[in-house]
Structure formats: structure tokens, C-alpha cells
């Protein structure tokens, strides 16, 4: 299938490319023609006021939210959605979702499974790893996020910060090409959020590719390679985090930053 992608310069294939993503609810454009490319090992943070469409855009990347229009390419996979055409097939969705890991604001761990089982299940069912192999990997990842002692605990027996770290391990277990973080610390107390951010920082240092929707400005500034500012469904500014935060060029960015920085 040929998709009329704008600017079809045949540059080096980006690691992940979400282009022309639009999400309409009735006539309201929650996300309006947003394009984002990310290279291997890059961490991009998306900031902006509430209701700017940041999370919606992020959720369009792995089709938890079906975009009204747009194309998502990851590695060799490319899935396009157009207003007038079919929805992606199950196989296409599976291919994209296999390459993308997601961490939610509300953790969404499976409450009836132990921490270890939470991480092993999809490895077995989606990647076809043996139980032993999966558990071994899960255990390593729990260790990685500092929670190997919680392997047999149920999510309800873990603090919010611990749950979020388990959720990060669960997403990493499938060896995703790209990780999506949807306001991973918004549901946490600041000091608890810090332990989650510390883990994310380490992972970033180790070369994780990630897109992070966040209100944690210092994290966005210090950890991300690039910052994207979204307002009213559109990208208004994009570039070096330090540059944007010290000298925002767009009026809405200035407003937003003065509201959140020094809060």
C-alpha cells in the first residue's frame, strides 16, 4: 500500500516516526496533524498545559487511541490510518504494540498477579518465551528497578512508586524498541515520584529510546535530548530542552513555563 506521506525525502529511516497524527472527537481536534520522529537512544519529552493533547497523541502511537488520521512507522512496520479507509488489522496493531512499551499514569498492574507474573505473562503469551526464561528475565528486571524482593508480592502490597517501577519492568520485558511514558509520576507523591524518575534516568543513560509526557520540568530538562511543546493539539515548539526552557520562542510556551517552573 502506498501512503501519501508528506515530505517523502528518503532520509535514513527514523527509529520511530509518527506523522500527521490527527485525533478528532466530533469536530474538536484533540491532536491536530502532529509529526514526531525519534532516533535510537533518544529521549523526547512532551510538555504543555493540560488538555493540550499530549497523552492522546502518545496513545495514538500504539493505537490505544485510534487516530482519525496518521501513520506510525517503527522499524520495518508501518501502519497508516486515514479517515476514509479501513482500520488497522489485528496483526498490524500487534506488530506495533510489540515494538512499543507503555507506562501509564495509573500503573495498571494486574492486581490478581504477583509482581513477577505481571512481568512474565506477556513474555510467554506474546513472545513465546518459556516460563523459566520469562521468570528469569522478569527477576532480572525487578532487580534492575530495585524490587527483586517484591517478586512474590501482589500490586496491592506495593507502594505507588514500587508499582510504577514494576510497571516499567513489565513494559521493558518485551524488549520494546521505544518506551512511551504517559505522565508516569503524576499519580505519585513528589518524593515517591523521584524514585521512579531515578529509574527512568538510569534507563535513559543506558540508551533507552523513549517518549515521555510529563509535568516534571527538571526531568524533562536534564534527561531528555529533545523537548516538544504541545498546545491545543499542535506542536508549537520543539528543540533543545535547555534552550526552550531558558528562552522559549513561542508565547504559549512562555506562559506555560512561567506557570509550571518555580511552582
Amino acid at each position: 500500500m502506498n501512503h501519501p506521506v508528506n515530505n517523502t525525502e528518503e532520509s535514513a529511516p527514523m527509529f520511530l516516526r509518527a506523522s500527521g497524527i490527527t485525533k478528532k472527537y466530533k469536530e474538536h481536534r484533540a491532536v491536530d496533524n502532529v509529526t514526531l520522529e525519534i532516533d535510537q537512544g533518544e529521549v523526547v519529552s512532551i510538555i504543555g498545559p493540560s488538555g493540550a493533547g499530549k497523552s492522546t497523541f502518545l496513545r495514538c502511537i500504539n493505537f490505544l487511541e485510534m487516530p482519525t488520521e496518521g501513520t506510525v512507522s517503527i522499524g520495518k512496520e508501518s501502519v497508516a490510518v486515514r479517515t476514509d479507509s479501513r482500520l488497522p488489522s489485528r496483526a498490524e496493531l500487534a506488530a506495533i504494540r510489540r515494538s512499543v512499551g507503555m507506562v501509564f499514569q495509573s500503573f495498571n498492574l494486574f492486581p490478581h498477579l504477583t509482581a513477577l507474573r505481571n512481568i512474565s505473562l506477556a513474555q510467554e503469551r506474546v513472545l513465546g518465551r518459556s516460563g523459566e526464561e520469562a521468570d528469569e528475565k522478569s527477576y532480572q528486571l525487578l532487580k534492575r528497578v530495585g524490587l527483586d524482593k517484591k517478586a512474590t508480592a501482589y500490586p496491592g502490597q506495593c507502594s505507588g512508586g514500587q508499582q510504577q517501577r514494576i510497571a516499567i519492568a513489565r513494559a521493558l520485558a518485551l524488549d520494546p524498541l521505544v518506551m512511551l511514558f504517559d505522565e508516569p509520576t503524576s499519580a505519585l507523591d513528589p518524593e515517591v515520584g523521584a524514585e521512579v524518575l531515578a529509574v527512568m534516568r538510569e534507563l535513559a543513560d543506558e540508551g533507552m529510546t523513549a517518549i515521555v509526557v510529563t509535568h516534571e520540568m527538571s526531568f524533562a530538562r536534564d534527561v531528555s535530548d529533545r523537548m516538544v511543546v504541545m498546545v491545543d493539539g499542535s506542536v508549537v515548539e520543539e528543540g533543545d530542552p535547555h534552550a526552550i526552557m531558558s528562552a522559549p520562542s513561542h508565547e504559549r510556551t512562555r506562559q506555560f513555563l512561567s506557570a509550571v517552573v518555580g511552582r
Binding site: L64, R90, S106, N108, L109, F110, P111, H112, R125
Partner: protein
């Protein structure tokens, strides 16, 4: 008197048969009904809602007569026991569909999103994530409906199913000792439902200690 008790107790089999069959058949048939209520197609959802509400709006006794006499009218000879099992299965199906629906609604949306984001297939998502959690929510409700079903099965005596209540009634007539006999049959019902109530409570509290579904 022992002979009378023994005669009545022989009805336990039929009572349990009706209860267990209706519980099982209704519980299984309710699954597609509950799933249909989450369908994308409004017509399907409306249809199922209609059936569920209709069944629950009419008293079980009336349904029992409708099925029993209705099938006879159609020339389909159905034994009273068969008619009772069919009726109670049908009624249980509607209640269970409603119970499952409530259980599915209690499951947070994030659970299915997390399964989807992990790439689990719909079948796997139901098998490993949705059903186990929904069951833990609806288990106690199903158990209490089961106890209700056990008691409702007494209605089958009205169409001539020889179960506990039927036998008690016939003995009461023969001996004139209505009070004693129905006290005995009451105790039998109590003894039958007690284990179910105890087991369900224990399972529930054990699961609750481990985790709670949001």
C-alpha cells in the same frame, strides 16, 4: 416420623439437580449475553438488554407455567423436571448476564488497556486478565444467587416435580402434621445452602486479603 423424613429427603436429589443444572447452564449461556452487551452494535446491546429485563420482570412462577404449558401447547411433551430445569436455566441466564455485566463494569479500563499495550490478544486478555478479575468480583454474587436458586426451585413442586417441597406437601396432606413437616423441610434447605454460603465467604475473604479489584 423417621420414615416421613426419609421420604422427604429423597427429594434432595431433584432439588439439587434443578439448582445445579440451572446454575451451570445459566452461568454458561450468560457469557455470550454479557459480552453482547459490550458489543459495538447498538441493536445487539438493546436486544440483550430487552431479553434480560423481560425475564427479570416476570415472576419465576409465571415463567414456570408459561414454559410448562407453553411447550405442551406446542405439542412438545416435556417432563415437569425438564420444564423446571429449562425455566430456571433461562432465568438464571438473565441474572448471571446482569451479574457478569456489573463485574465487567467494575474492572478498570486501564486493565484492558494495559493488556492491549502489552500486545496480548483479545482472547488472552480475557483469559488471563479480565475473567480472573471479574470472577473475583462476581463470585460472591453468583453464590448468593445460587442460594436463591435453591430456594426458588421449590416452585417446581407446583408443576409436579417430585422434589423436596412436593414431597413435604404430600406428606403434610397425608399425615396432617403440616407444621412439623415443613419445619423439617426448612431445616433441610438450610443445611443444603449453608455449605455454599460458608465456602463462598471463605473464598471471598481469602481473595480479598490478597488483593482488591479497584
Amino acid at each position: 416420623m423417621l420414615g416421613v423424613v426419609g421420604y422427604i429427603a429423597l427429594g434432595i436429589g431433584a432439588t439439587l439437580l434443578i439448582t445445579a443444572s440451572a446454575f451451570t447452564i445459566g452461568g454458561i449461556l450468560a457469557i455470550p449475553l454479557a459480552l453482547a452487551q459490550r458489543s459495538r452494535f447498538a441493536i445487539l446491546r438493546l436486544l440483550v438488554r430487552g431479553v434480560v429485563n423481560l425475564v427479570r420482570a416476570v415472576p419465576p412462577l409465571v415463567w414456570l407455567f408459561l414454559v410448562f404449558f407453553g411447550f405442551a401447547e406446542l405439542g412438545l411433551r416435556m417432563s415437569p423436571l425438564m420444564a423446571a430445569i429449562a425455566t430456571f436455566s433461562f432465568i438464571a441466564m438473565s441474572y448471571f448476564a446482569e451479574i457478569y455485566r456489573a463485574g465487567l463494569a467494575a474492572l478498570s479500563r486501564g486493565q484492558e488497556e494495559a493488556s492491549a499495550a502489552l500486545g496480548l490478544s483479545t482472547v488472552d486478555s480475557y483469559r488471563f486478565i479480565v475473567v480472573p478479575q471479574v470472577f473475583r468480583v462476581v463470585g460472591p454474587m453468583m453464590a448468593s444467587y445460587g442460594i436463591g436458586l435453591l430456594k426458588d426451585s421449590a416452585l417446581a413442586s407446583t408443576i409436579g416435580v417430585v422434589e423436596l417441597t412436593f414431597r413435604a406437601a404430600s406428606q403434610a396432606q397425608q399425615t396432617g402434621q403440616g407444621l412439623t413437616i415443613f419445619a423439617i423441610v426448612g431445616i433441610i434447605y438450610l443445611l443444603l445452602s449453608l455449605p455454599l454460603a460458608i465456602v463462598s465467604r471463605q473464598v471471598d475473604s481469602r481473595l480479598r486479603a490478597r488483593f482488591s479489584v479497584a
